[in-house]
């Protein structure tokens, strides 16, 4: 993304070129810029790609230039709705760029960069000069605007160039200080370029003073042209510009897309190889088990296929309720197997290994991943908590997600099979993941959401509410523990933990629950925005029956009174 940012080009590409940067650090803008609205916003500094403060806008805003600007760049961030940018040109034409709303899954990448340049166009003598007089950012929701720069030519700073001989117009090389800026070109009398082009001004003067090199010489390296002093040569300038700018946004996106496709294809290929190897291995194992039995060859193959299919199904099953059903299915399998092998197969040979795999696999892997130091029995609870806290703090984000993924795979209902310390580690890991939600990718947030049994968008809401609401913070802290305790409850989610914690707080101090109000920042528009969708559903399940019951009781009362 750094490459895509509209960093100003500081090298002087065009004689007399001036680059102006506006960082919106205060409400005094640079000369030559007029902004129709907005206000300096320092509430979310260095967020949404901005640097320091930015310009906050929430409606159509025009940025007008007083100079003949031929290049602008800027950043627009935190836009939830579709928006557009319209450029107005000096020749009376205009151009509109439509953009869709930006994804808010990661605030650090929630911005678009804009770059419009007519440098190359204007440098071509065949074209009429084209300039940007103003541009308009059309947004409909709170937006940040930052890192604006623009370029134009200040004619007064362009040194006078002549077509007379160099000896009469240029200073002596020894009088000039080496500045290291290599933008000068020299040719020999046949129109051949100097081998060290581009040259600094001092190098250029030295070359000219040698009498072998001159300013621009038209021709194909064989003609003998007149001596002309020409400072900038267009093609070299374009090359320099390309090197400075790097690949365009489109090129970068294309490269990223190709790399992603190649990665996915490679992953699929490796997965296919692994699957094939596993299948072959499984087949060999089953054949070895059936080797001693007297079964016809065709039936053996059928039996092998059937067992493989059955094992695949067992691997997919992760829901404990279904695991409980497995023994029934196994009995059915036993019956089928018995029929096939004419009652010669021992049940234990076929059934027990499968059942064992299903029950032992999940928690074993989880405990392998959580490589916490052995906690001695004589440690106090505080010491154990300290060890766990240190362990979790040292985990990288990827490790945190790996553990959560394994928890999802294992099923939170099966966590009662792991040790209490591992449960506490999992709890701390879940807390850690929610606290560092901004560092997680969309896929990682999905994994966290799966553990909490909430929607992906709800994870962000929970992370925000932790800081504001003690009940939510406590619910996050105790989620894993309570989920394990309530593993038999159907559809037990994070919202259930929140309700439980709130009821406990109410029973502990009923009055405080109702009088401890903080109405700051609450408006009619955003009531309920800080609730997860699951919580809203649960509230509806309660509030609607309450209202209906009240209406029914009132009706009954009125009816009784009228009789």
């Amino acid at each position: 993304m750094v490459l895509l940012a509209p960093f100003p080009v500081f090298a002087e590409e065009v004689p007399g070129e001036v680059t102006i940067n506006e960082d919106f650090s205060d409400d005094t803008y640079q000369d030559g810029l007029t902004v129709s609205g907005g206000a300096i916003y320092c509430g979310e500094q260095d967020q949404y790609g901005t640097i320091g403060c930015s310009l906050g806008i929430n409606s159509s805003t025009t940025f007008e230039f007083s100079e003949d600007v031929y290049e602008v760049g800027f950043l627009v961030g935190a836009v939830n709705q579709a928006y557009s940018v319209k450029y107005y040109y000096a020749d009376g034409t205009d151009e509109t760029i439509e953009k869709s709303g930006q994804s808010n899954t990661d605030f650090s990448t929630m911005y678009d960069t804009f770059y419009k340049s007519f440098t190359d166009y204007n440098n071509d003598e065949a074209n009429t000069d084209k300039f940007i007089t103003k541009f308009e950012v059309n947004v409909s929701d709170p937006t940040v605007f930052d890192t604006l720069y623009w370029q134009y030519v200040d004619e007064s700073t362009i040194p006078t160039t002549t077509t007379t001989t160099t000896s009469t117009t240029l200073p002596k090389a020894e009088e000039v200080v080496e500045d290291g800026i290599t933008t000068y070109l020299a040719w020999d009398e046949n129109g051949c370029e100097h081998p060290n082009n581009p040259l600094s001004y001092k190098q250029y003067l030295e070359a000219v003073e040698s009498g072998n090199w001159f300013g621009y010489q038209p021709g194909d390296c064989s003609d003998i042209p007149d001596v002309v002093v020409d400072i900038i040569e267009e093609e070299i300038e374009e090359e320099i510009e390309e090197i400075e700018e790097g690949p365009t946004e489109e090129e970068l996106l294309e490269l990223e897309r190709i790399a992603e496709e190649e990665r996915i294809a490679e992953e699929k290929r490796i997965q296919a190889e692994i699957d094939a190897e596993l299948e072959a291995l499984e087949e060999a194992e089953i054949l070895a088990e059936l080797e001693d039995l007297d079964i016809p060859e065709e039936e053996v193959q059928e039996l092998v296929d059937f067992i493989q299919e059955f094992e695949d199904i067992v691997e997919v099953i992760e829901i404990p309720e279904e695991i409980i059903e497995i023994p029934d299915e196994i009995i059915i399998i036993e019956e089928i197997i018995e029929e096939v092998i004419d009652e010669e197969v021992d049940e234990e040979v076929l059934v027990e290994p499968i059942q064992k795999d299903v029950e032992e696999k999940p928690t074993e892997e989880l405990e392998e991943i959580i490589e916490i130091e052995i906690i001695e029995e004589d440690l106090t609870e505080e010491e154990v908590a300290e060890v766990i806290e240190e362990y979790v703090e040292e985990l990288e984000t990827e490790e945190v997600i790996e553990i959560i993924e394994e928890v999802v795979e294992t099923g939170i209902d099966n966590l009662d099979q792991v040790s209490e310390e591992v449960q506490e580690v999992i709890q701390a890991v879940v807390e850690e993941a929610i606290e560092d939600i901004e560092e997680l990718t969309e896929e990682q947030v999905e994994v966290v959401a799966e553990v909490l049994s909430v929607e992906t968008d709800d994870v962000e809401i929970i992370a925000e509410q932790i800081e504001k609401d003690e009940v939510i913070a406590e619910a996050v802290e105790e989620y894993v523990e309570r989920a394990i305790e309530n593993k038999d409850v159907e559809d037990y989610t994070f919202s259930d933990v929140v309700v439980e914690v709130q009821y406990e707080a109410f029973l502990e101090n009923p009055i405080e629950t109702f009088i401890d109000l903080d109405l700051e920042g609450i408006s009619i528009d955003n009531i309920g925005d800080d609730m997860t969708s699951d919580q809203k559903e649960k509230a509806q399940e309660v509030v609607v029956p309450v209202i209906l019951t009240r209406i029914a009781s009132m009706s009954a009362f009125m009816f009784r009174k009228s009789i």
Partner: protein
Amino acid sequence: MIKKIWNWLITIIKETLNLSWTLVGLVIATLTLTGSAQQITGLATIITLAVWLLTIGFRK
């Protein structure tokens, strides 16, 4: 004066008891909500109950 206040206290206790089931429902609803919705519902419940009790005479 004391008798008046006593009578009024008895009346508001009666009225509150009449509203028992409704209040239970509203408390449950409040505890099921979180964030701003919970705050607004809790506040609305208290204010409405207060207004209800203060306007007993007027409603009669």
